[in-house]
């Protein structure tokens, strides 16, 4: 059964090929069947493989298909590596992916480019599966670039609007910065360790490099560069909010559930390297903490429903990075999974809201929609509870594990924990701000619209609601993967007070949100009357001014440098050569003017000069 693992990316790849090659000539029903069906087949295969693998009791297995290229000692293969981590990832990708495809079959039905949409989606899933199943870093990089390409294509899916194209380019270029760093990391690893096979490479690094050695630090820093680009962490986080220009299912699949967590996967996969560079690992935690707080503050100020969710995604991935940084590998992967459930749910529900209200994105133009949009309301309720880590929802278990692990860390652990708890407070505020403003209070506009949710859109929402509620009870089989260096939360003693704080703080956040946006005891308007608050609001709203900063630091100098040399300075050198020879030519031609006296004069002058030269020298 495990030998059939190659089928996983093959189904979606065939789906992509058949949809791309027929380029929109198939009837929509067939397109939907191919698009969602290929992922469904992948999911079934993945589930069977996972069942067999887990019941066999093996820790890992390698399925080699063919040698990709063979040059000297460089022989990367098309080989898949299956272990607990890969099993979790492939089930998330195919499972959540299938639900989102099913939802899209209904959601995108009116779009003229229905077939193009599914072809890109299928290609994305194929690439993502290659990414998580690859047994060597080169194959992983192929998947890595593949998902980047699909992300670009899908953000710019509605390319008639120039700003969508701009958002797509921004995402592609920003992640490219990280990708380049990662590529250099691969070169370094291959040059130093002589292999790109992940397990071999990690083993070689462990035996050859001392803890804290320069090479280990450099290699893990470079890989971290790739991870922060893909996962939208500081300092490369600016692309994700703009990526919301794509269709909403894309935001659910690529920019919430799967692709943006690839950075987390990469670090978890190569965690041995990060353990060899403890300072870099600590840096991961700090990046996660700062990102999660910054994004949390920004999420509180946004009024576009999708941008709120985008910032919350950045913030939640910040938690995963925090977990990675404190060595809670499996807790991070666990949060990755629960986040995939509840964030996909939230995005799909947001899609239903937007779809039902004729592309309305501004939450302050909605209001009181809980009766009008019952399924979306239920989804948002459950999704937000999980997001805010309400006790015993899925998000509670995973976030709890990460925070406990942070608290266990010697040294800066307390600060990291406090920051994480503050982040949870913010999460409570912004997630329920969204719920209260959209679904409660008085209705503003869009009174007539009914909820648009056919069978194919409602089913995924219901399944995801169940997963978001109870997904926290799932045991992920990653113990063997992170067998050493793992911080085991259970073995430590966290005081009851700390537990109480971790449970209470999100509730407190929800309460604050209630006071502001539901009961109106506190008023945002009064708060905004304070000029300092207005400024702070503007600063947070702009994402801490990062876009303006990058525009000033990188974009404008780059464009300026390009513009001044548009005509290629080197060409000017050759043009000068041409002009000199033309000039000489014109001057020489002038001497041939057919006038005898001029010729006589020049002969005489020449003779005089020669004689003078002869005398002087």
């Amino acid at each position: 059964m495990e030998d059939l693992i190659w089928l996983l990316p093959t189904f979606p790849l065939l789906g992509f090929l058949s949809l791309a090659l027929t380029s929109g000539n198939l009837p929509k029903k067939v397109v939907g069947a191919i698009g969602a069906g290929s992922i469904g087949l992948s999911f079934l295969t993945a589930a069977m493989i996972a069942y067999q693998f887990l019941s066999s009791g093996e820790t890992h297995l390698v399925v080699e298909m063919w040698v990709w290229m063979a040059v000297g000692n460089f022989t990367p293969g098309f080989s898949f590596y299956l272990d607990g981590l890969a099993v979790v990832m492939m089930l998330i990708i195919t499972g959540v992916g299938f639900l989102i495809h099913l939802y899209s079959a209904g959601f995108m039905l009116d779009d003229p480019s229905y077939s193009r949409f599914f072809s890109y989606m299928n290609l994305f899933v194929a690439s993502m599966l290659v990414l998580v199943l690859a047994d060597n870093l080169l194959l992983l990089y192929l998947g890595w670039e593949g998902v980047g390409l699909c992300s670009y294509l899908l953000i710019g899916f509605w390319y008639e609007k120039p700003e969508n194209g701009y958002a797509a380019r921004k995402a592609f270029i920003t992640t490219r910065v990280g990708d380049t760093s990662m590529a250099i990391g691969l070169f370094l690893l291959f040059a130093e360790l002589g292999t790109l096979d992940i397990q071999e490479m990690l083993h070689a690094a462990e035996t050859q490099w001392a803890v804290g050695s320069g090479l280990a630090v450099a290699a893990s820093l470079l890989l971290l560069g790739g991870a922060v680009g893909k996962s939208a962490q500081l300092p490369l986080q600016t692309w994700l909010p703009d990526a919301m220009a794509g269709p909403t299912p894309i935001s659910a699949l690529i920019h919430a559930a799967t692709m943006v967590t690839a950075g987390v996967y990469l670090i978890a996969r190569t965690h041995v390297l990060f353990e060899l560079a403890p300072n870099v690992q600590l840096l991961v935690a700090w990046i996660g903490l700062i990102t999660l707080l910054m994004a949390g503050f920004t999420a509180m100020t946004q009024h576009d429903i999708k941008r709120i969710l985008a910032y919350s995604t950045i913030s939640q991935i910040g938690y995963m990075f925090l977990g990675l940084g404190v060595g809670a590998w499996s807790a991070s992967v666990f949060h990755l999974m629960t986040h995939a459930f509840f964030k996909a749910l939230l995005f799909l529900a947001a899609g239903t809201v937007i779809h039902s209200l004729h592309h309305e994105h501004n939450i302050f133009k909605m209001g009181g929609k809980r009766k009008q949009l019952p399924i979306a309301f239920a989804s948002f309720m459950i999704g937000s509870l999980a997001l805010a880590a309400f006790p015993f929802t899925s998000g509670y278990f995973s976030k709890d594990e990460i925070l406990i692990a942070a608290l266990e860390l010697e040294g800066p652990g307390m600060i990291l924990w406090l920051g994480g708890v503050l982040g949870a407070f913010l999460t409570g505020i912004y997630s329920f701000r969204l719920v209260f403003v959209v679904f409660f209070g008085e209705s503003k506009g869009h009174h007539e619209e009914k909820e648009v949710a056919g069978f194919s859109m409602a089913t995924p929402l219901i399944i995801l609601m169940v997963l978001a509620l109870f997904g926290g009870w799932i045991q992920i089989p990653v113990d063997a993967v992170f067998s050493h260096g793992e911080v085991h939360a259970e073995e430590h003693h966290i005081s009851g007070l700390m537990h109480a704080i971790m449970i209470a703080v999100p509730l407190l956040g929800i309460g604050v949100s209630y006071l502001f946006f539901m009961s109106k005891i506190f008023s945002v308007e009064k708060l905004m009357a304070n000029p300092l608050a207005t400024r702070l609001h503007g600063f947070w709203f702009s994402g801490w001014g990062m876009d303006a900063l990058y525009n000033f630091l990188f974009v404008r100098p780059f464009v300026f440098l390009a513009r001044i040399n548009k005509n290629d300075l080197i060409d000017a050198v050759y043009a000068l050569l041409v002009n000199i020879s033309r000039f000489v030519h014109v001057m020489m031609a002038r001497t041939q003017n057919g006038q005898l006296r001029w010729y006589a004069l020049s002969v005489g002058g020449g003779v005089i000069i020669l004689i003078t030269l002869g005398v002087v020298l």
Binding site: W68, G72, E145, E160, P162, F558, A562, N565, K566
Partner: protein, 394 residues
Amino acid sequence: MILVVLISILFLGGVLAWLSEGLDSRFPRVVALAAVVIDLLVMIALVGADTEGAGWIVQLNAQWIPRFGISFHLAADGLSVLMMLLTAFLGIIAVGSAWDEITERTGFFYFNLLWTLAGVIGVFTALDLFLFFFFWEVMLIPMYFIIAIWGHENKNYAAMKFFIFTQVTGMLMLISILVLAYFHYVQFGWFSFDYFDLLKVNTSSAIEMWIMLGFFVAFSTKLPSFPFHSWLPDAHSQAPTAGSVLLAGVLLKTGAYGLIRFAVPLFPEASMQFAPFAMTLAVISILYCAKVAFAQTDIKRLIAYTSVSHMGFVMLGIYAWNEQALQGAVMTMLAHGLSAAALFMLAGGLQHRIHTRDMESYGRILGESAATILRRLIFLDRCIRYAGSWELRR
């Protein structure tokens, strides 16, 4: 013998195409297509051939001008065969892209097209340096006509620039070849232009460096590499689509081929010493031309500058002095040949329909189909770059 057949089919096909115009102006394109397809079919016979001896699949050595030791020496190894296959394939593509675009003086056009291809095949197979230089010129002059006659608004300037750049640096190569042959005469007492004879020549390292530089300048102009690249954007933007396809897909590769086949093996020590400079130039090419490409608004100039940037990677690979890099360079040559040709066809198609190469004015008039095709091709380009497992140099 098979190599002579390959080259003569193209030479004769060219003459036949020119003559057939007298009957009907649509005949030349059929003749040209037939010639290139037959060539490709003949070439496929070489692919499976076993490689006994020193890795040369097929060789032909006949006397040409014995007095000066000049012979008609053709041979092909894995690298030559790969390059020839690329040439013939893109030859078919070029004929196809000219099929409806070229309506005036079709006979002479296809004559030039086929003679350029013949010159390129000759370059990829010649093992006598005099013969090599002969083919080097053969591929230059017909291409000059293609740009100068069937080009766009500024064709004379572009064609002349192309001609002068290639001709002047070709001159330097000729001098180098003659000096090298002279040193062979000094050392062995008889003239030879044969590759294998010249491999044995020993000279002082200063002289070796100068001779090598003659070759290097010629090849890096053709490649092209910074700072000899500025003919390329003009030639590309003015050439008809078929011309651009051949230029980008095939002609640039002759420069890289020359470096791999001649500049490095003939002067290993000088090349070794020169490698840091060559690699620096390559890196400047990559970065500088990418930067200039970013600023372009003419779509063909943009693709042209990215070509220079990519050929910088090829040069970097050649002078990196290891197996992986060299194979990577050959891989990039193939991948760039296909993708650049495809991009120029798209640019040509756009220009044909919208009558401008200025991207700013394209705006959103691009329909669904064109945009999709563009994206797919960019995707195809990446696929090819990642494709692998070629055993290039046996």
